[in-house]
């Protein structure tokens, strides 16, 4: 029995390491990317204004990535991320500029509206049992329409200077919007790791049936996840409104794909039951590094896209070949129970049973 325990004691850290390897890789990529950019810009990348610009635009991908992550956590997809964000941003803008609502109130209404819409989406999904994918696609369409109705083709910019100042403020070159995003990430991580409600959310995603049998209402978790997702999008809309030159119907237009990319690159499974707040944040950094590199090296976007694609594909293949090479040499010890090769979904999904309202 003692030998058994020894083996387990040895296996445990190895397993932990494995589960965190995505995060470690991402961390490596971020560090390497920063170093390369620092060298390429002969140091100016680490100077105040550059750092500020860099961090200023990490906020949105972090927030929308987290918003999507919360939905993914219970096995739902939220396609209305961009539309809801754009709508809330325009709503805040219109309230302030056209109806003269004070900034604080307008912002509050905007964030609450986003939360409320998230809540309604969740309620609609469980009331009708229509696939969440379709429902959020529907709300996305409706919100796109609503955003256009609010703003038309104009750019709304005559709103609170105080809000804008906050959006641009960067004490010690750390933009407030970035701090907001980080705070949201930290709170969310604490919420999911530490609170009973958060654990329930994760349990419902990990195995909806089991959760149900243990007295956790999966329906309620789905509503909660969409509500939280709405809240995070509301915050993302707030930071956008504060830091953009104005809001118009294009705001939120390209949030959808990054919102998925950040959590999924960060190690979250599409099937639910897993979260990776830190991974999502890191993935947002990686995506931001690419933007910066594009500006730094004056790259043609076509080449950038092409290279990103090829490099990611290459890494994916290379990483796997490297790993199987290592396995052959017998260096990898105490790995996880082997998933059948080529199941295409990674080990995280190998055990996750399908089912539940998705």
């Amino acid at each position: 029995m003692t030998r058994l325990q020894d083996r387990r004691a040895a296996a445990l850290p190895a397993l932990r390491r494995y589960s965190r390897s995505t995060t470690a890789t991402l961390l490596g990529v971020v560090v390497a990317g920063c170093v390369v950019l620092g060298i390429a810009s002969s140091g100016s990348f680490f100077e105040g204004p550059s750092v500020r610009t860099f961090l200023q635009y990490v906020a949105t991908p972090i927030l929308i990535g987290l918003a999507q992550m919360v939905a993914l956590c219970v096995g739902q997809l939220n396609l209305s991320v961009g539309a809801l964000g754009g709508f809330s941003a325009c709503l805040m803008g219109v309230l302030m500029a056209d109806t003269g609502v004070p900034a604080g109130l307008a912002v509050l209404i905007g964030v609450l509206t986003a939360t409320l819409i998230g809540l309604l989406t969740g309620v609609f999904i469980i009331a009708t049992r229509i696939n969440g994918f379709i429902v959020t696609l529907g709300t996305m369409t409706i919100l796109l329409g609503a955003q256009y109705r609010l703003s038309g083709t104009r750019t709304i910019d005559e709103y609170s200077a105080a809000l804008r100042d906050l959006g641009r403020a960067a004490p010690l070159n750390i933009p407030l919007v970035f701090v907001t995003a980080l705070a949201a990430a930290a709170l969310l991580a604490a919420f999911i790791r530490r609170t009973v409600v958060g654990r329930r959310l994760l349990a419902a995603g990990g195995n909806p049936l089991a959760a149900r049998l243990s007295g956790i209402s999966t329906d309620r978790q789905i509503v909660l996840a969409h509500t939280l997702s709405g809240l995070l999008i509301g915050i993302a809309a707030l930071t956008a409104t504060a830091s953009l030159p104005g809001v118009n119907r294009s705001v939120g237009g390209d949030w959808l794909l990054p919102s998925f990319a950040a959590p999924i690159i960060g190690g979250v499974a599409l099937t639910g039951g897993s979260v990776a707040v830190f991974g999502t944040v890191l993935a947002a950094f990686v995506m931001r590094l690419i933007d910066t590199a594009r500006a730094q090296f004056s790259l043609d976007p076509s080449w950038v896209n092409f290279l990103i694609g090829v490099v990611v594909l290459g890494t994916v293949v290379g990483g796997r070949i490297h790993q199987s090479h290592l396995e052959k040499k017998g260096k990898a010890t105490g790995g996880p129970p082997p998933a059948p090769p080529a199941d295409g979904t990674g080990p995280a999904t190998a055990l996750a049973p399908t089912g539940g309202a998705r």
């Binding site: 976007p301 896209n305 594909l313």
Partner: protein, 358 residues
């Protein structure tokens, strides 16, 4: 394992294409029938409001041509969904295929069918490559196809910029213009001609639907694709070459995407880089509305056609009613969600009836 007393998605949505309908449920519980009823009902409503809805040449012909193209797009997505994967690069694979067709016509002077063959080969090859990477690396299809999307986005623009003046191949082979505008009215059996409402380009869609229908209902490959999607671990343990099936699914997806790209190019006139830009959402929408599960293992070929048709009819009807952009999307989303909720009521009622009659 079903524990919910109300019908859950998977219980009531189960399409019948893959298998015979569970004989204990009467035919009218069938989801596809619900879609068909919705389509007919909406068409009737729009026809009553605007008799022009039944104008064969100006309304039905373009409507059917659109449905034909988008159905192929939805099928391209459905094929990968069947193995539980996603293809985020459908649109770009379409552009990639169309690039080859355009190149063939413009530079190689190919005939219409030869160009199509080249286009399909290119699509199939890029799809197979994607599938190979996923199977080989065991990384989530989401990440790999996203990377592929970027790579192709860059590559296609680079190639168009390098090869053409205006980012489009404008040479038209013989027969292309005819293919674009020909309808069944141009096919006559003696004095009886077909309807001018049905575009000839729909023949490709018909072929694809029949081919895939055969694949999924009658062949070993189709079944193995579905089981790979339903539970990759169990499939591997049952002796299914899951890796090869994954490659097959992606290759087919690439092929269908390229076909859709070709059809889109024929529909508008030239082979250009922007083909397929808007394919992603319709591809999911059509497939999922039709009853294909995002989690894999369940597909519906006819459902993809009907799902696409439903969205097409709603959009066309709203266009005919002259709904402006400020309301169009709002109505589009609302009609879609309301129609589906109505259909859901039908399913619940029918389910209750069946239970009561047992």
């Amino acid at each position: 394992m079903k524990t919910a007393s109300a019908p859950r998605a998977s219980e009531t949505d189960r399409p019948t294409d893959g298998a015979r309908p569970p004989h204990r449920l009467p035919f009218w519980v069938n989801q596809r029938l619900g879609l068909l009823v919705l389509i007919v009902a909406l068409a009737a409503v729009f026809g009553l409001l605007r008799p022009a809805f039944f104008d064969e040449r100006l309304v039905l012909f373009p409507l059917l041509r659109d449905i034909a193209t988008l159905t192929v797009v939805a099928l391209a997505q459905m094929v990968v969904l069947s193995v539980g994967h996603m293809n985020l690069a459908v649109g770009r694979m379409a552009a990639f295929g169309a690039l080859f067709a355009g190149f063939g016509y413009d530079r190689l002077g190919l005939s219409l069918p030869m160009g199509l063959v080249l286009c399909l080969l290119a699509g199939c090859a890029i799809g197979a490559l994607t599938g190979w990477i996923i199977a080989r690396a065991g990384v989530s299809s989401f990440v790999v196809t996203l990377a592929m999307d970027f790579a192709l986005l860059g590559l296609v623009s680079l190639l168009y910029s390098a090869l053409t003046e205006n980012a489009a191949f404008t040479t038209r082979p013989d027969g292309l213009t005819e293919l674009r505008s020909a309808s069944l009215a141009d096919i006559c059996l003696g004095p009886v001609c077909g309807s001018p409402a049905v575009p000839q380009i729909a023949q490709f869609t018909l072929l694809a639907v029949i081919g895939l229908g055969f694949l999924y209902t009658r062949t070993r490959m189709g079944r193995e694709l579905l089981l790979t999607g339903a539970n990759p671990n169990a499939a591997e343990l049952s002796g299914i070459p899951t890796g090869r099936r994954i490659i097959l699914a992606h290759a087919l997806s690439g092929l269908l995407a390229a076909l859709a790209g070709f059809m889109a190019a024929v529909g508008t006139g030239t082979f250009r880089a922007s083909i397929g830009e808007d394919f992603m959402l319709p591809s999911f929408l059509g497939a999922v509305l039709g009853g294909t599960l995002l989690t894999g293992g369940v597909v519906s070929v006819v459902g993809a056609l009907l799902g696409t048709a439903l969205v097409g009819v709603i959009r066309k009807g709203l266009d005919l009613l002259g709904v402006g952009l400020e309301s169009l999307n709002i109505y589009l989303g609302c009609v879609l969600l309301l129609a589906l909720s109505a259909d859901r009521v039908r399913t619940v009622v029918s389910y209750r009836k069946v239970v009561r009659s047992t």
